[in-house]
């Protein structure tokens, strides 16, 4: 038989075969229509007019600039949020102190805030009539409609990923191993490098890879602060949007295919990290 559906366990509730079949077929159809089809469309549309046009679309100067800006944004936001995540997880997971829950809530915040509002917060600070405009003007610094704003908005959206993942993991692991190392005379840093880090490395990778995917793909928040200046403040997702709105579909999908490929790579690394983490 081409298609096998079985109960995974031979204990507990075991629905009859016809019911299992029906449930799996409904699930797969749902996923095919809502997940798989859009993904397939990205690649077929991107390559429909041939490899040459695809290559031209992603190697023209504006696209290359967007790619560079996307990489730059991730290169700043991901390390910054990784260091923050390690620091936050250390104090939240290993210590109990007053105000711990407030910090945890603040870390969850970007997940509850619409990306548009996240971008808007920075416009209110640094925009035309922004509250900190005096300071940035005196430093001759432009934040909104410029690269710093894009990086700031991306950092806001992506800072919870590493911190949340590691806080959960490190709380679960407790701190007996660290206490043993310290009582045997290891220094604080030695304990961190040789005891804590090897234990959390897969969780850390998991957090970083999700943070990176979001940093490279963020649209709403970045779109508010960027001003869509071509060749200047355009990231890859914004570039895809502009091309799409100009009815330049094959170029838009070529750029989209790059980001979709990144998403697929992310999923692969993520499932490897997940499996190693469980061990």
């Amino acid at each position: 038989m081409l298609f096998f559906v079985q109960n995974k366990y031979n204990k507990g509730l075991m629905p009859p075969a016809w019911l299992n079949w029906t449930l799996v077929v409904i699930s797969l159809t749902f996923l095919a229509v809502f997940l798989l089809l859009p993904l397939v469309i990205i690649f077929t549309e991107a390559f429909r007019q041939g490899m040459t046009l695809w290559w031209q679309s992603i190697s023209e100067p504006e696209a290359l600039h967007a790619l560079k800006l996307t990489l730059l944004t991730a290169a700043v936001a991901v390390p910054a949020n990784t260091i923050f995540g390690l620091a936050a997880a250390w104090c939240l997971a290993k210590f109990r102190f007053f105000g711990r829950n407030i910090i945890i809530t603040l870390i969850d915040l970007p997940f509850a805030v619409s990306p548009i509002i996240a971008g808007m917060l920075f416009v209110l600070l640094f925009g035309a009539r922004g509250y900190l405009r005096g300071i940035t003007d005196s430093l001759d610094l432009q934040i909104i409609f410029a690269v710093p704003g894009i990086i700031l908005a991306t950092m806001f959206i992506t800072f919870p990923f590493v911190a949340r993942e590691l806080t959960g993991l490190m709380t679960q692991q407790g701190s007996q191993a660290e206490q043993a190392a310290l009582s045997l005379g290891a220094s604080g840093w030695q304990t961190f490098w040789h005891i804590t880090l090897p234990d959390i490395k897969w969780g850390l990778l998991y957090g970083i890879i999700l943070c990176n995917a979001r940093a490279m793909g963020e649209f709403g928040a970045v779109s508010v602060v960027s001003g869509h200046i071509r060749g200047k403040t355009n990231t890859l997702p914004l570039h895809a949007e502009i091309l799409y709105n100009e009815y330049n579909f094959s170029a838009a999908f070529a750029v989209a295919s790059l980001l979709a490929f990144l998403a697929l790579v992310t999923l692969v690394i993520k499932s490897i990290a997940e499996r190693r983490k469980k061990r």
């Binding site: 298609f3 507990g12 509730l13 997940l35 917060l121 999923l267």
Partner: protein, 276 residues
């Protein structure tokens, strides 16, 4: 000293890491939030009220909440079904499909928006047959719901799946052994145990849908009063440098999100207590 800021602990680095965390959060989160609060406080109450009660704003709220709610309900139903198949059955390709569930987390929202529009546009692969049946998807609220189904789905599956996988199958054995039918075992034993996580998943998906922008704007058509979601209306205000109007709408949305976040936390405490 009676009052203790922190419990005694031999691990080092508390001051350094907490200090860094607080400064980072202060600059990146509290400062921008203070800007929003300040901006809201500078408005008079009638100004604020007229900004959030204009025809256009009310229509956008109704559309955003309506579509988010319907999408979250669909997510909950199919999320449970998919989580059940992934955790209770074995079939070829199960692991790949399991990994695929997270695609909406990894795929940039704008990209899923463009792709969905291509699929459901009147000349799209599904849009064309649906249009022939007289169902217009793209550039209508149905399109918005479909975009939200995509982004919200992993939240339900990923909340329910671990709970289903860890259920004690002895309980089901006991129910079946005492003469319960399959359906009774599901509805009276399994479902009540899964319900808290299902509600959490629903709330997470609903909250995410309310704020969704990237995947919706392409397929929505963005006609004021008809297919304009609140996030887009905020962008429109910002583009016209109407910061007061944007602030009012954003504050309203934020307050609602906070209430939802609070609900999630309460649901989690409740489910944690129930399962113990």
């Amino acid at each position: 000293m009676k009052y203790q800021f922190k419990q005694y602990n031999i691990l080092p680095g508390f001051g350094l890491t907490l200090g860094y965390t607080v400064v980072y959060l202060g600059l990146l989160v509290l400062l921008p939030l203070a800007a929003l609060t300040l901006s809201a406080l500078q408005m008079t109450w009638p100004e604020f009220w007229s900004a959030i009660s204009s025809q256009r704003a009310i229509r956008s709220f109704a559309l955003t909440f309506g579509t988010s709610f319907i999408a979250a309900v669909i997510n909950t139903i199919f999320g449970l079904l998919i989580a059940w198949c992934l955790s209770r059955m074995s079939f070829p390709g199960r692991k790949i499909i399991d990994a695929m569930i997270d695609l909406p987390f990894a795929l940039p929202t704008a990209i899923s928006g463009i792709a969905l529009t291509a699929v459901y546009a009147p000349n799209g692969i599904l849009g064309e047959p649906l249009a022939r049946l007289g169902i217009k998807v793209a550039y209508t609220p149905i399109g918005i719901i479909i975009a939200m189904i995509l982004v919200g789905l992993p939240f339900v599956v990923r909340t329910v799946q671990p709970v289903l996988a860890e259920l004690e199958r002895e309980l089901e054995e006991a129910a079946l052994g005492l003469g319960a039918s399959n359906w009774q075992t599901f509805s009276k034993v399994i479902f009540p145990l899964v319900l808290p996580s299902l509600l959490t998943g629903f709330t997470l998906a609903f909250a995410r849908n309310l704020g969704e922008y990237g995947s919706v704007v392409f397929i929505a058509g963005n006609m004021p009063m008809k297919t304009e979601i609140t996030s887009l209306l905020i962008v429109t205000h910002l583009e016209q440098y109407d910061y007061a109007g944007a602030t009012a709408l954003a504050s309203a949305m934020l307050i609602i999100s906070f209430v939802l976040l609070l609900t999630i936390n309460l649901l989690q405490t409740w489910s944690g207590r129930r399962l113990k």
